[in-house]
Amino acid sequence: MSKRSWLACGAAIATLCLGVSTAQAQDDILVGLITKTDTNPFFVKMREGASEKAKELGVKFQAFAGKFDGDNDTQVQAVENLIAAGAKGILIVASDTKAIVPTIQKARDAGLLVIALDTPLEPMDAAQATFATDNFHAGELIGEWARRSMGDEAASKAHVAFIDAHESQPTVDVARDQGFMKGFGIDIKDPARRGDEDDARIVGHEMGEGSEVGGRNGMETLLQKNFDVNVVYTINEPTAAGAWEALKAAGKADGSVLVTSVDGGCPGVKNVADGVIGATSMQFPLLMASLGVEAIVEHAKNGTVPAPSEGLTFTNTGVKLVTDKPVEGLESITSEEALKICWG
């Protein structure tokens, strides 16, 4: 090609780039969502909610997820990718609430607004805002429910099994666990740590990793430790479903064991209707995600940072107790009502 043709090409490319960058500078807001995995319906609902809100507000949206619950590396890369892509804000459900913090700081330094969803980071103020269920309160509700359901026996004849998620004690895991204990009337000592309690009613803690398989294995092991388990706390509804299979196999699926959980997914609510789960605390992931997108767009337009709910260090997106066996003094909704607002 002749020198003139090269020059013409160069000019054209330069104009194109200039045009694109100016176009970028105007209002092309990119919001990123990073969840723990993309298999858990909770996160699927979050993604849907965020995506819809983004479309409604006319902003760009990208979703990322780790390969498994606990996969920090993929989330780190996702944050870095979003920084490089010029995102205005990140919504993140952290798999490892401590390890992700340095990367979050990088994002904040680059001017992005980081909002933690569902799982607070450690320390909580590593993110500029947290939109979450009050997981402690969620645990408290089901713990209270279990205590009131047992009545007088709760103090003397209770044998409580705990099926948590991970050995590494992520915030959401600890919060729900300790909340349940407080609601049930167990002295939790340090609310930031699980396992430091010495109440004789505790049969043990097993790690189920939030899946049915883990729930089954964990329940079996706890039954082996003490066959008289009559209260079960599970971190989420898939775990509860697995635990139920173990109870069934042990001949204890006759209603003599109170199974509690947290989440409020539609399969979980149906399990409440079927008597598999006694009570579950419903969360609102769609609300979390759409509020989060709104907040990022607001921040991109006029720099406002969302304020936490009154009296809390985070924005509470609410929790409702779902049970078909309501107890006096504790507000709850039935499974039928819950089916209308459940997710997944």
Binding site: E212, E220, P267, V276
Partner: protein, 340 residues
């Protein structure tokens, strides 16, 4: 020529040499001893709660799913390969069965067979990529692991099909969860299926020419080729069979958890490799046994169960499994080295 001139090779093996030769021929002795010693120690520490038929059969149930994956993995590792996608194939097969029976409305028996066929197809894909494109098994199955997981997500839409729905419309999918009471022992049909499959594979590996060829291809592919064995055909068929076994494992998984769930199976591939390695099968191919894998799976199950009942934290389970793996591989290496 007189008979003194006929050549002969003297064979005066000392006692040390004889022990080594014995171990060479029967490498499964070591994992078996580890299992027995482990059972003894936990019985002492935990007591009757551990060494009771109910608990022992419980552990058998708990290791059944991983055990089936480990059987598939054994065949592959014997050919000096490895399969990181076994867990994903299993979950994909179970999702296929569930979705075909409940969402697509196929007759449950057809859905069951089709699900197993999906597993076989995944295995065939692995086999094709490895034999045709001659790519290393580790890399291939690393890739197909992600690909199959993506299909799981796609096909299930992230949804779990609940136990009650399956019980209502496709109960056969939960058949492997049916319990069998034999005296104080409580087995599931899934465990029986696994043991039966193990027996079948044992027969195939030890009593048929095909089994000998699998060992030969893993131990010395050049020698196998020069003996007229089609190494490509052997390798492809092994991956295909393994995929079908993973499909069967998907059926057993549904029986165990009652539901069809896209969760789970995450670390199943590594767990299956753990069982195979602790059972004495060499990652370098050509050495190992089905019995060893069963023992390896049981060792992992009993250690987890025993340590949990002894009240120790979950992290000690991980620690001990890690130690067992290293000891097993170290022992295999030592055996190989002193034979040269």
């Amino acid at each position: 020529m007189s008979s003194d001139d006929t050549p002969h090779f003297s064979e005066h093996a000392g006692p040390g040499r004889r022990v080594i030769n014995f171990l060479h021929g029967n490498p499964t002795i070591i994992p078996f001893l580890v299992l027995v010693i482990g059972l003894a120690i936990f019985s002492l520490i935990v007591g009757k709660r551990f060494f009771h038929p109910f608990n022992l059969s419980l552990v058998l149930q708990q290791v059944t799913v991983i055990g089936m994956l480990a059987l598939a993995q054994t065949l592959i590792i014997l050919t000096a390969g490895i399969d990181l996608s076994v867990g994903a194939i299993m979950v994909l097969s179970s999702v296929a069965m569930g979705q075909m029976a409940l969402t697509l409305g196929l007759p449950p028996e057809i859905a069951l067979l089709a699900g197993i066929a999906v597993g076989a197809a995944c295995g065939a894909l692995n086999g094709l990529l490895i034999t045709w494109l001659r790519l290393p098994p580790f890399i291939v199955t690393l890739g197909t692991w992600s690909i199959f997981n993506a299909f799981v997500q796609f096909w299930s839409g992230g949804q779990t099909i609940r136990q009650q729905e399956i019980a209502a419309d496709a109960a056969i999918l939960q058949w492997t969860g049916t319990a069998l009471q034999l005296g104080a022992w409580r087995l599931t049909l899934g465990s029986v299926l696994m043991l039966g499959l193990a027996g079948l594979l044992w027969y195939m590996l030890n009593r048929t020419a095909y089994g000998r060829h699998i060992y030969a291809v893993g131990n010395d592919p050049e020698a196998a080729r020069l003996s007229g064995i089609s190494t490509r055909r052997v390798l492809f068929s092994v991956y295909l069979i393994a995929g079908a076994i993973c499909g069967l494992a998907g059926w057993v998984l549904i029986g165990r958890i009652g539901a069809v769930s896209p969760l789970g199976g995450g670390s199943a591939n590594l767990d299956s490799i753990t069982a195979v390695v602790i059972g004495g099968t060499s990652l370098f191919g050509g050495r190992g046994s089905i019995l060893g894998t069963l023992i390896g799976a049981l060792i992992v199950g009993f250690f987890r169960n025993g340590l949990a009942l002894a009240g120790l934290d979950v992290l000690w389970q991980e620690f001990s499994i890690g130690c067992l793996i290293i000891m097993a591989v170290g022992f295999d290496q030592w055996l190989r080295r002193i034979s040269n």
